[in-house]
Point group: C2
Chain length 339, copies 2
Amino acid sequence: MSYTMYDLARDAGVSVATVSRVINNNGSVKEDTKQRILELVKDKGYIPNAYARGMNNISMKTIGVIIADIVNPFFAEVVNGIEDACQKCGYKLILCTTANNPDTEKKEIEMLVEKLVEGFIIVGSRPSKDNNADFLIGLSNTLPIVLVNSFIKGGPKMFSILVDEGKAVYDALAYLKSENETNIYILGDPTWKTTTIKISSFKNFYKKNNLNFTTNNIVNCSHSYCGGKKGALELFKRNLPYPYKIICSSDTIAIGALRELLSLGVKIPEQVSIMGFSNIEVSSLTTPSLSTVDQKLFELGQKSGYLFINIIHEKYPLNKKTYSEYELIIRESTNSREV
Amino acid sequence: MSYTMYDLARDAGVSVATVSRVINNNGSVKEDTKQRILELVKDKGYIPNAYARGMNNISMKTIGVIIADIVNPFFAEVVNGIEDACQKCGYKLILCTTANNPDTEKKEIEMLVEKLVEGFIIVGSRPSKDNNADFLIGLSNTLPIVLVNSFIKGGPKMFSILVDEGKAVYDALAYLKSENETNIYILGDPTWKTTTIKISSFKNFYKKNNLNFTTNNIVNCSHSYCGGKKGALELFKRNLPYPYKIICSSDTIAIGALRELLSLGVKIPEQVSIMGFSNIEVSSLTTPSLSTVDQKLFELGQKSGYLFINIIHEKYPLNKKTYSEYELIIRESTNSREV
DNA sequence: ATGAAAGCGCTAACAC
DNA sequence: GTGTTAGCGCTTTCAT
């Protein structure tokens, strides 16, 4: 078939053991036979068979990274951080996208399981009804799993790193709120935990302030630019009295909403304030620029990478959840003054 | 070590061959032994070792996809298309990012070479001085390689799919140009072929129109939001008379430039027209929205996926280069009227 | 410094 | 319908 180590050994007039030593640079080999082998490697374009190596319990130092959607900057920025951390430790990533499909997720993970990958970092919120939770719990008996921005209870080697989204939303609402008004709306997709968490916090905030939270305060939309446009349009059509305020479950939603309202002639932030969530890079570049909750995505990724590598080395964190900081970023799209 | 097929065979009281038949669902096995084995698989959480399978020439149906930067939407959108095509054919992707570092690129490819992956799709422009060209040519003796938006001469199994960027820039300039004025500037990074191609076309256009192209027409900046901001600032500091026009080597540059100029109080498009390149999703959502050249990124990705799979099946295209269409998209950021 | 050989976990050809 | 066994290409221990 292809040019193997045996061929190489034959051509060099040595045994495979010697070749192996040269390839892996361990064990001692006479300098000139070493050179002869190395030259042959180059000439013949010899490349070791990864599967054969893998069979010998050689760690391939790869981590499976599961994300929903590569086009969503949230994931891209987190993965960027993961990569940064892993590269420093000599680890490589195998990136898989699930398109938010639980079956795809399961299949992809199974494909990578057992030696192809030393474990998984799974990025992003889980579905409110998480069909793969038990599967992951079972898997974490053998393989380390780090969940970024989500949490599953149980699972021996499963750990989470996340931002306290409930608290963050509470802070954001405290900033947005004006006197005794129930004019804040949340845009998001409640089939995802990230949104249900935010909604709970929202309810809680209104309750504490003796305000009445209703389902009217929720506008259902998918977590994309396009979803944001649709959600904003829906809200606009209600002809609500200005000013009102929108808090979005993600920056992509917020950017879509921003553009839609601007196109409809709405003044932002004078008539409508918009707040995003995550602080993806482009949020600071819109006009008006977007107020948001900075989840420090790159660092979040980095931390999860380091956490994973610690787990591999059996240095387990004290808690199953590690909280990562967030920060309210006020830019031009919100205006908390009473108009 | 881990629970292997031998353990499973022992526990089920059968031979490994029988287990293998059940696992791979080929060959005939009595129904109740089959069930017994399947149950054991579940109970013990047995997972086949991917490396051992790989050793038997079982195709793992994976493609290595190499991109420069996951945070750059250009790559994300292309990869999205590749994924779409590959999924339909039962192929999986292993995504690697190089951070524009040729050594990283080489290392990552070597890691995946030989059986871990059936070939490569390499996305994005190559450096003007491409140190890995020979490496890739050599590799393409054995493995299929599809280059997206770049071209390397030679390489038996290496094929390109790309947009005619030179022509696209020519069209864009024809649209931007006003009477006998040399007030168009290009922002980009000439260390990448994508920019040198555009600059050549620019020169050519000016020549044909009897206008004088100078290095002043080029502003050097990296292909990122941040690069765009810096480039625009540099240009602004020249205190050029309005109106003038900017054509950017990428949409990320254009979005950064747009924001920077807006922050400096420049009126767009009245004083400065800005045109991007690629049409990433967020380009339509800026204010003003961005005029650009639509490279139809998702389709470009799809096509390259299908091309790759054809090559695997030894259905080679007639030419080494396949051109993909582009389209000039005029939005709000340009104004070709004389002011 | 070098070689022989066992073994990694699986598949598939062959025998029964 | 089921078992035996020879590889797949490499690493590594044990001799020499």
